[in-house]
């Protein structure tokens, strides 16, 4: 596998984590423009743990996941009574505030003659964990894909549990959920927290893979892209966001010949796709119909 293909695939897998975190928020009926914040937190925590304190990758991933989840819970606690547009804008503010704050924090360090540490707009460089542990690009690709598959399996299992069904109910009609004894706010808090954990984990891998991170990488475009992948892919199953990522990055790579007019074609394509499939390709309805068919055949 060539280096180019491997690193493209790794990027696809890394963005998939972010798309899955956007998916978890969308399941409870909220739109978040701020998932990139938790991604960034995961990335910076891992960078700090591995590059400055020389911590083990397992510890770094664990701490990043926790930090992402806690930050998401903090945001959720602040804005839990908001919904829809208000929630979307509040999450956007949160993410932009975090990014602007990261731009202002300058604690440059020198470790083994290499500059590292948070350095405002210059970013956090020399996150050398993959070099120190002799990870090839393909090795890292395997690690990322295995983590992603594990997460997907977990979500697939989760999909048929009562918790998930209730969460979907909250997303569809929170008034109905309330009258059935489901507390919408609890589910929303929990799922936003979970989404932060997923994003934090993805951000951790992102920092390790890129070896250099800077606040500009975590702009609003990243978050909105993740959201767009999920909506194109559909909210029916955890595979939806992955399909969205595949369509975008797959198409971007395949029509690179038209590179100058790429976004012109792609933007129009997404809009047309949404006219044909307003609920995304794997909409909850399509997934339920599919499940029904598979079950009938079993009987």
């Amino acid at each position: 596998m060539s280096l180019y293909v491997a690193s493209t695939l790794t990027n696809v897998a890394l963005i998939s984590f972010l798309a899955l975190s956007a998916y978890l928020v969308l399941v409870v009926g909220e739109v978040s423009f701020g998932q990139q914040a938790f991604f960034a937190i995961g990335a910076y925590v891992t960078a700090t743990v591995t590059a400055i304190f020389g911590g083990h990758i397992i510890l770094a991933l664990f701490l990043s996941t926790i930090a992402g989840g806690l930050a998401a819970l903090l945001l959720a606690a602040l804005v839990i009574r908001l919904s829809g547009l208000y929630f979307a804008i509040a999450s956007l503010c949160f993410a932009e505030l975090l990014r602007l704050t990261l731009l202002r924090i300058r604690i440059p360090l020198e470790i083994d003659g290499r500059s590292t540490g948070m350095d405002g707009p210059e970013g956090f460089s020399n996150i050398r964990w993959i070099f120190e542990n002799d990870f090839e690009v393909t090795d890292f690709l395997i690690l990322t894909v295995v983590c992603l598959l594990a997460l997907l399996l977990l979500l697939f299992y989760f999909e048929r549990t009562t918790v998930m069904l209730r969460a979907r109910l909250v997303g569809r009609d929170s008034l109905l959920a309330q009258s059935l004894g489901v507390r919408p706010d609890h589910y929303r808090m929990a799922f936003i927290g979970l989404s932060g954990m997923v994003a934090g984990f993805g951000g951790a891998l992102f920092a390790l893979f890129n070896t250099h991170i800077e606040p500009q990488m975590f702009g609003v475009m990243l978050g909105v892209h993740a959201l767009a992948y999920t909506v194109i892919g559909g909210l029916g199953a955890p595979l939806g966001p992955l399909i969205g990522v595949g369509i975008d990055i797959g198409l971007l790579e395949s029509i690179r010949a038209l590179s100058e007019y790429r976004m012109i074609a792609f933007g129009g394509l997404v809009a047309v796709l949404l006219i044909i499939f307003p609920q995304g390709l794997l909409s909850p309805r399509a997934v339920n119909r599919l499940w029904g068919r598979i079950r009938r055949r079993d009987v």
Binding site: L26, G29, V31, L78, V79, R81, L82, S83, G84, L85, Y86, A88, I89, A90, C93, F94, E96, L97, L100, T101, L103, R104, S174, L175, V220, V224, L227, A228, V231, I232, E260, Y261, R262, M263, I264, F266, G267, G268, L269, V270, A271, V272, L274, I275, P278, Q279
Partner: protein, 298 residues
């Protein structure tokens, strides 16, 4: 004296923000949708004007006309492609994402129209006025009055014409408006066109007082318009004006006293604070409290 000077500068600049926010508010009020491609359609107008300037001539007047018409045209295009196919209750998300996709598209088209990234934008030279120590830039005073006239014309359209009546009725309740014989089918297009005209005027004011246009203008104006609208109150026209002026005022003061790098931190911080403490914005709380928007998850 510094305080007064900064306040006046801020308020003059804020009048352009108010126009941007009015465009957002109009669309939100009528369609209950958020148009992420708004800033890019204004950028498209501006870029088209710069591109056509050598062909048309006419100087600043030609640039103004093309900016406004281009923005209105782009607005209608966005409505046809992203909003009219998703009118149902489930279409909120789809229309938002579709408008994001068209945002990317319009940004790219504008970048193609502006090959050198930064292009000069026609301005109007008027001498600065100064009295008792306060300096007022001539073009900014003109801009302020243009904004006032545009807002006045908008209010006149909304409150003194049949078309305005129909728009307001449809904003209240589209079904009732339709049952009472209102022709609501093309209303979305008209709203987007109107918002495009307002935004195009704002874009011309901002770009000509900067003297240049870059492809970043799309993202920038979407953010500023959205923030000014949310500050004042979603869907409320007076709220949009207050929000725009307040944003200009706050930005000018923060830039003056703390430095430009704190400007955006304060803007977003202020907005988050207002959303947490007073979700409906400064003047729009009633809209949120009635619960209709909250129940419809918009």
């Amino acid at each position: 004296m510094d305080f007064l000077q900064t306040s006046i500068d801020g308020l003059l600049f804020g009048s352009a923000y108010a126009l941007l926010a009015l465009g957002f508010s109009l669309i939100f009020g009528i369609m209950k949708r958020i148009n992420l491609a708004y800033g890019s359609s204004l950028l498209f107008g501006g870029a088209l004007a710069v591109w056509l300037e050598p062909i048309i001539g006419w100087g600043a007047v030609g640039v103004f006309l093309v900016t406004v018409l281009g923005a209105a045209f782009a607005g209608i295009y966005v409505e046809r492609l992203c909003f009219s196919p998703h009118l149902g209750k489930t279409g909120v998300m789809a229309s938002m994402i579709a408008s994001f996709a068209i945002w990317m598209q319009l940004d790219e088209i504008s970048s193609q129209l502006l090959p050198h990234r930064t292009h000069s934008f026609a301005g109007i030279d008027i001498e600065a006025v100064s009295f008792s120590g306060i300096i007022l830039r001539g073009d900014q005073i003109l801009h302020f009055w243009v904004a006032v006239v545009a807002i006045g014309a908008l209010y006149w359209t909304l409150y003194r014409t049949r078309f305005g009546l129909l728009l307001r009725a449809s904003a209240d309740d589209p079904d009732t408006a339709y049952l009472l014989g209102g022709k609501v089918a093309r209303l979305g297009m008209a709203t987007f066109g109107l918002a495009g005209v307002l935004g195009g005027i704002a874009a011309f004011l901002i770009l000509s007082s900067d003297g240049q246009i870059t492809p970043h203008f799309g993202l920038w104006s979407t953010f500023k318009g959205l923030i000014a609208m949310m500050l004042g109150g979603v869907g409320s026209l007076p709220g949009a004006i207050v929000g725009g002026l307040l944003l200009g005022f706050a930005e000018a003061h923060v830039t003056f006293y703390l430095g430009a790098e704190f400007r955006d931190i304060l803007t977003f911080g202020l907005l988050l604070l207002i959303l947490v403490l007073r979700p409906g914005g400064l003047l729009g709380e009633a809209i949120y409290r009635t619960g209709r928007l909250a129940a419809e998850r918009i």
